[in-house]
Symmetry: C2
Amino acid sequence: MITLVNGVPGESISVHDRGFQYGDGLFETLSVVNGSPHLWDRHMQRLLRGAARLDIHAPSESLLRQEAEQVCRSAGHGVLKIILTRGVSGRGYAPDKQAQPTRTVSLSPWPDYPAEQHTHGVAAQFCRTMISRNQATAGIKHLNRIEQVLARAELEQDCREGLMYDEFGHAIEGTMTNLFIVSHDSLLTPDLSHSGVEGVMRGLVLERAVELSLETRVMDINKNDILQADEVFLTNSLIGLWPVRRIEAKQYALGRITQRIQEAIVDAYAAD
Amino acid sequence: MITLVNGVPGESISVHDRGFQYGDGLFETLSVVNGSPHLWDRHMQRLLRGAARLDIHAPSESLLRQEAEQVCRSAGHGVLKIILTRGVSGRGYAPDKQAQPTRTVSLSPWPDYPAEQHTHGVAAQFCRTMISRNQATAGIKHLNRIEQVLARAELEQDCREGLMYDEFGHAIEGTMTNLFIVSHDSLLTPDLSHSGVEGVMRGLVLERAVELSLETRVMDINKNDILQADEVFLTNSLIGLWPVRRIEAKQYALGRITQRIQEAIVDAYAAD
């Protein structure tokens, strides 16, 4: 594990950092293969979107790139995590005028996901913990993640992911993945304008689906839509795509469209 | 400023602390007068309620008390802040099994609130930033505070507080205070079962109001209820009670019930 805090090797931040005090910041999690972070530009675009939304002054992309290369240099396969917060400040929701953003860039070991999860798929479940709705924070990858922590803690041993609903019964996403379903040959994924994270891999899947001339829609999806779907799959930057083979009692085939998408994105997460 | 991190003087925590990574924790903010933290038992009860909800193992109250006394000993007037997180862990929403909670106990200077704010009252405004709804996190004082940060940033210069609504137009609270209104001699405060923080001072006000034989109700309150109210006031552990004299164009008198409540709680925040 290697970490740079504002460019300096270290493992600690100030107790007065607003990331710690209020979750007042953003993060990105990137797949690293052969020492190189994947989908860099897309992750940077989302980070900048989030920084604009929260009015946090983002460091230059070239600075982050240089620090990312520094921690990834000697890595083979790994996970690069970038955190950007509003920085160190006195107590209270209004930050000190002189507060400077904090950035941390760290490399973690690659998680030990079995390869069969890509090829044979995973089981998932529905979570009781709701995901809340707020247009102010929807879409961006901010540091307020208690809901995901609580939902993750619900997972039964044989389930690899939990699906979260909003208060109106719209399925939004998994705790760490975006959700896609295939219904009557159309590819559908939840609308994230009120909740959820616009995953980098989700964006890539939507683009590739259009290139494959698949009918693709972003829309409200409920539990019945999922249970009646022909195919279900999950995406994120680390796993790429996991087919879902079972949600509670419902079984799904390893679908044709799921496999076409998986082939279409394989360069983006496992190009080694 | 004095801080203890897990009992040891210091100003830093691990970058891998889940408080920093996910806002996965709780906090309490106490008023300190003559070196003594006020309403200690009530703050501890709320911290324990929150820890139970998030399934974080709380340290013993006697340990926290001892550390609080250590940082407050030489203080006159100040603010004691206690943070409790799920501790240091590897990446991912599921914590390491061996993760131990992190606690920080720190003393900050007393904020320079002018005394007239108690006697003459303050101006407030309505915020555009919504407060989200989630029964899993409502009521407790958790570390996911981006909504409050964004709402606080909206405040116009002459406004001391901003009121936040949920998606259904229910007024929930101020960014750092609980809200009370007086209407036809009844004391009303928002229902917090889906959003907001159950303030320690709010709890005390509700108790004292009953002792004063005031008709008191916890209920849904909307913008019109506030604009048509006879009196409005705000509470928290540091300020005690601020009468609200203006919200946007609407003026309020310094009300009789507000003053009775203020007298009834004066021992709890300024007993020096």
